[in-house]
Amino acid sequence: MTRISLFLLFLATFLTACQDDDDPITLIDVPTSYTFARNGASTVSFDGQTTRIGMAEELVAALSDPNNSEETLMNMFRNAGPNGEDVNPFADADLNASDKSIRSKVAASTDYFSANATQSAAVRADFEGWISSQANEVFPRWNELAAPGEAGQVATGSRVRYVNGQGLEYNQIFAKSLLGGLMLDQALNNYLSPAVLDAGTNRADNETGTTETGQTYTSMEHKWDEAYGYLFGQSADPANPLATLGEDGQFLNEYIATVDNDPDFAGTAQTIFDAFLRGRAAIVAGDYAERDRQAAVIREHLSRVIAVRGTYYLARGADATETETARGGGFHALSEAYGFIYSLQFTRNPATGAPYFNREEVRQLLATLTESSANGLWDVTPASIRSVAQQISDRFGFSFDAAAN
């Protein structure tokens, strides 16, 4: 009898030791779907994020139409003319009517850029440079074959890609850099930041249930939801976004899904969603320490999505570069990788509060890809490409092979 009791005690000790339940006391009521209400009315809202994702999708598509002028593309980026005048560059009238724009939220987070206007301006100049170069370098050579030093067409299988003289697709760089420059930066470094969540009287208002004028939500609740909107703002059912994950938009949503589909990173999507859910419930319960713990989980895992995907595309590009006797087949993957690497400067390491790679480190990684020879991707070696991927996977602490396959 004694022996059996001891046995059970032993078993219980070891089994519980494996469980992650160091928050035994909690009064947080966590729902199963992202559904929160006050007096029967939903308090969840992220229209602004849905709008910006919509703008980004139209602009990315427009970068592949050589009939568009540089001015049209810039107007889409600013949702304004060169002197701030009202313009209607979008096909969707609701986007034209909006007073929001992509540009105003690029490199615009409180934590990273409120006291660094210099760097914010440099990032925006990068994006505008890609737009301008697409219009001025690539569009004029839309019906020409690309060659080292010459923009034009290359093929990836049955798909036509349009590259600059270095073999880079500006539209891919632009789109994948927006993942970091707009979406990640806004979500991780702005809306999930205590500096934003707790700004002004937010905590007191949240305690008393004082809502924003004319709205059902407190300001803190809304900020948290705005981060959520950059991931799930276009979901078929935003309350249960994992059901259609990957089908709802071409930005963060798609890449959370692709990383989640890699068995080495399975569960990533659920982890991120659960943290959003629990953090939002913690706000309702007034448990701000718990809120910030969940924000840390989101920061870590969403940052890793960018790194894993960047590593994956580098591996694809290295393989193509190695196995093909003619260059070109790997340019698309490497152009995507370029954007993911660019986005790393907007990631957030919860342990340090800083990006996993700062802007200068990102510049060096990109230089390895494109500046080791005059013609960029036309000459880069598989070893150089893999060295970049290795640096990224090492820094994040996952294996190159796990991300590459």
Binding site: N143, Q153, V154, A155, R159, V160, Q172, A175, D319
Partner: protein, 343 residues
Amino acid sequence: MYRLAVLLLPIIFWSCDPAPDDDATTTGESFDRGAMLAHWADDIVTPAFEDFRTAYADLSTAAGTYAAAPTGEALTELRASFTLAYREWQHFAPFAGVIGDEYRLVERLNTYPTNTDRLRTEPEANLQLPSNDDVQGFPALDYLLYGTDDPAEFSARISEIVDAVDLEAPYMAWRDGGRDRYVSNSGNSATASVDRTVNDLILYYEKQLRAGKVGIPAGVFSNGPMPTLAEAPYHAELARTLFLDGLAAIDEFFSSDPGLATYLDALSVEREGQRLSERIEAGFDLARARAEGLDADFATQVTTDNTALLQLYDALQANVILLKVDMLQALGINVDYVDADGD
């Protein structure tokens, strides 16, 4: 107590292990992959390439003759050469990736449906551009030779389209070093020849044979049958033949000894009490039997009795599972392609 603690150790470790390792795969140490690669290269890929190259050279000659003097006799000769070359292409196409994806032979020679409007309005289109894959190759020739009122009007363009694709450079590259590198790359990494050949083959089977020739015209991926998306719709008596040629190429490759069937048998791979190799071969046989009962023209078949084409699709799809999941798992090969990510 001491004994109990020892007893508990496995339980402790087991309960803490987040992801049990389950990817132990037999790699078939005893099977000679190098011999298989040499057989593939010398007895399958090279002859298929040479047969196609010869047929294509004949097509080029016939197109040149027709361009010089577009007589009825020359047209008859040209059409016969076209049919022969298109058929030989089916036997070589699954292995075009072995020769080199960078030559883009599959894309340039057989992108369909062809763009008939652009063929008429852009007679000067640069055929070297990837954006012009849909105004060249066999599908463009099919339209110009069989779909127009007077092919003679396009005789010069027909010849240009044929000659736009150069087979000599890839042939020389394969003969002078390509073949040897292929055979010597006999490891089992993602970039090794066996892994890449098998991936190319399954991709071809899935995308070209199953979807392109059958599933897409049968409306599997749309709201109804799409006769205009069938292969060789203007010839109107060729699609079934082309399909059967393509299926035969893959079947023969699979069953050829030493090949994938022998490799699977060497590893004693079975599914539901039967050798996997036999199940896959039975799948090819079933698809062949179903195809043989169809109209010679799949564009016609989908409008008269699409169910029969859907049944062919189902037979092909059943083997996709066996090839792509069961076979690859048994051989320890990873799928190296994914569905296009839409951007």
